[in-house]
Symmetry: D2
Subunit: 275 residues, 4 copies
Amino acid sequence: MTDVKGFFYPRTALGGSSLIPDPPWFYSGDLLTVEYRTDPARVAELLPAPLEPAPEDPGAVALIWADWQSCSSSREELLDPVRSQYKETFVVVRCSFEGKTFSRCVYIWVDKDFAIARGMHQGYPKKLGTMWQTRPHPFHNAAPQIAEGGIFGATLAAGDRRLAEAVLTLREESDSNGFVNSHPMAHHRIYPGIERGTPDAYAELISSGAAEFEGGPAWKGDVDLRLFESPTEELARLGVDEIIGGYYRQVGVTWDGGGSLAQRSATEGWKAVRA
Amino acid sequence: MTDVKGFFYPRTALGGSSLIPDPPWFYSGDLLTVEYRTDPARVAELLPAPLEPAPEDPGAVALIWADWQSCSSSREELLDPVRSQYKETFVVVRCSFEGKTFSRCVYIWVDKDFAIARGMHQGYPKKLGTMWQTRPHPFHNAAPQIAEGGIFGATLAAGDRRLAEAVLTLREESDSNGFVNSHPMAHHRIYPGIERGTPDAYAELISSGAAEFEGGPAWKGDVDLRLFESPTEELARLGVDEIIGGYYRQVGVTWDGGGSLAQRSATEGWKAVRA
Amino acid sequence: MTDVKGFFYPRTALGGSSLIPDPPWFYSGDLLTVEYRTDPARVAELLPAPLEPAPEDPGAVALIWADWQSCSSSREELLDPVRSQYKETFVVVRCSFEGKTFSRCVYIWVDKDFAIARGMHQGYPKKLGTMWQTRPHPFHNAAPQIAEGGIFGATLAAGDRRLAEAVLTLREESDSNGFVNSHPMAHHRIYPGIERGTPDAYAELISSGAAEFEGGPAWKGDVDLRLFESPTEELARLGVDEIIGGYYRQVGVTWDGGGSLAQRSATEGWKAVRA
Amino acid sequence: MTDVKGFFYPRTALGGSSLIPDPPWFYSGDLLTVEYRTDPARVAELLPAPLEPAPEDPGAVALIWADWQSCSSSREELLDPVRSQYKETFVVVRCSFEGKTFSRCVYIWVDKDFAIARGMHQGYPKKLGTMWQTRPHPFHNAAPQIAEGGIFGATLAAGDRRLAEAVLTLREESDSNGFVNSHPMAHHRIYPGIERGTPDAYAELISSGAAEFEGGPAWKGDVDLRLFESPTEELARLGVDEIIGGYYRQVGVTWDGGGSLAQRSATEGWKAVRA
């Protein structure tokens, strides 16, 4: 009997083809975060069972641009950076499960396939998109610094359409980089049934967060945000009622797996996993 | 309790964001197929339990380029072709399960995210790549025809590296478009355990094939194939020992789900699904 | 003294690096054309000296999507189709020079670098963009045919923004594929002065057209066209006042150089070239 | 008579479509440089009239990766970074004109159209490619620092083929960032004749360099470089006989035009421009 190897598909005899390597996964990157409030009903409608809305500030949304370099324990991806660098834009809300508050990514676009595969594993609902964020640089000729007055732009597109644009002007250091994305994530992992009309073959609620985290000084500032309609996206349905704040922070993160919160069976519905 | 909609993620209240719509899925496209024999042991090592090598010609491999236009029942993707057109290159071998022969895709590269998501559902181990194949056209200025003497080139790259190149010169009409990809597919669908070091949280062997199929005349001809090494791929490990043939065919396909062949449980291992 | 070779840059000792080979250049492709009338003043403002507006129907505009396969005399690009296939969308108006009517491309977006370089040579003002047009195919599953009732969509984007969308429904065969793009092209070729604030170092008005042309049956039909604003484009300034028609045609084209119509000198201004 | 505006094509009534704005152009970016010696004859064969080989170390070559953010005086591109960020890899040699030593870019690949257009103006022979270089970041999780032991990878591809790979390990601060790219550039600007078989319609030798330059500390280190064959490139012809050094430096640059060194006329050949 063949023993194929590889964390993810394709699995092979040697394990060298897997789209993503074994965790832990390591990340160094820059985060541009816009937090705002939308109609809480629009957040609630994105929270399937067994989740419930967060008890406080249930309409809070974080739209986050991230410019990453990432690698596995071998660090070999860093020397072939097409396998290491990627960008993403994602939308985070908060929710509640068994009385505990979680963050939850409801939309996310990335620009590499390995990032899609990591997202499958972690329950991030990833699509491909193109996203750009102004980079800080020591020389001012064509770059801001992470300092008072630094101006950063960020854009998101998918399917050849602009979906979002933000402009952030840094004002001062901040105690935090926002609060919406600060909890462990609660994500669904699903596999639709292969036979037409059948329920999901697999459904699990998992939780994960950073195994290690380091961050530079967080900065906050004034931010403008525009969301655009698209026939394939519902991002604009999370309309901006009130801006909470804009933030910029450089971070280092290690991810090393998560845990199962609940699983759904055909006969018993959702059932929490007890440690 | 929120009832989110959508065949695949992200699921929402309205269901308009799902990366892929409900089946059936419809395809019109051109297939350039190269069939060859490799060391049967190199095929066998890609067949995990509960699969076994095919009883006849177990080293046969098909490397297939496909240039597709696809849509759902609404056909709306056809009017926004960024959502409809995609290309793929895939490697098919044969295997056996409970005495029946199946085809099996062991490697596949595509150039759109909706194609990746369909592959997740169908058990195709999709990565992003760039693939090109010469197109036939009524005017000869810069195109072959599907006719004697027509020459078609095809290339595959991923991670900024060439992986494969083929040149096919059509000689005559053919009874078939090859035999390796002619069975129902037997594919694994897997979800690695979210906790580090745990076994797959989900593992299923599914089968699927075309619900409807139409094809134009198949042509066969002389073919050259070159495979190249890459640190992230093991395609070249399926070395070309003997060319079987090259084929070209235009086809129309409808896919409308499949069926479960076997499921793995932690306690009992693989267990066939009985209809 | 070194004698470097190559039609275009980079020129080298062997000539194998040139971004484009020597003409003639050969093309096989499909054209989706939308013709409409805009304010003639908006066309006139795009016609610099020594051009003047066309005497008849001076507000007529053609917006054309083209899906090409192309090659040089060696035809080697056809076997490495990344060097052969490209798409483009371009805007054509008409103008007059010395009493003769010419077509003129005022905006054009392509998706390959060799197409940009050809455009430099031919005076097409090419930018990169992403453009898609529905493809006809013998099998109806996910494709129209070039026949009554066939529906074709077309989109254009640049800089991550949609610029144009069209939907064409074929009704009947047509005597022509439109009239706006039917004259020889009159294009400027310019080189800005390398020193800041100096006039163009080079300015020439050239003309070119197809050395050979074959076309299948032209079809006409009902067409919808939408143009969108962008901070880097002025396409939407050519607003749609009245649709003239929509057309679809498959063509084969050979291009083999053009001729100089006029040249500008610093002292004498524009001076026509006499044959 | 219409007075069209815009530094480069397309020129329009308002000037908002030009692929590139008026200089000055501003750049902030990171340079990874590999210097080596090749056969001087291979450099000499890339130096057309009126250039001659550099008198000292005529086989010296610099292969440079640059990760740029750039903008015009308005700085508006920085807030829409798809218009601001780009990467490039370029090959520089040295040459001599009228007894003065110049640097000269003989090959260059970029990943944006505005960079191609700037190159047309400045005489850089730009093609599209994909290039990646490891980025430094304050957090070590998945990034080196610009410090002893920092390891940086760099790759170049075009036409779906790898062309070059380098790995640089920083050892110590350096007085310079290399010497090959340290002179004013001497570049040809050419326009092939539009009529088949005619000589260039325009040929000029221009010089330009940075109007302003700032640089952080330069670092040097051990470097490996591999060049690969491609049917459309001659980079590998500049084979690596001896590594001179590897360098890393962050810089800020302003470019504001250049000057004409010589022009070629049909009757008199090359003639130097006297200030």
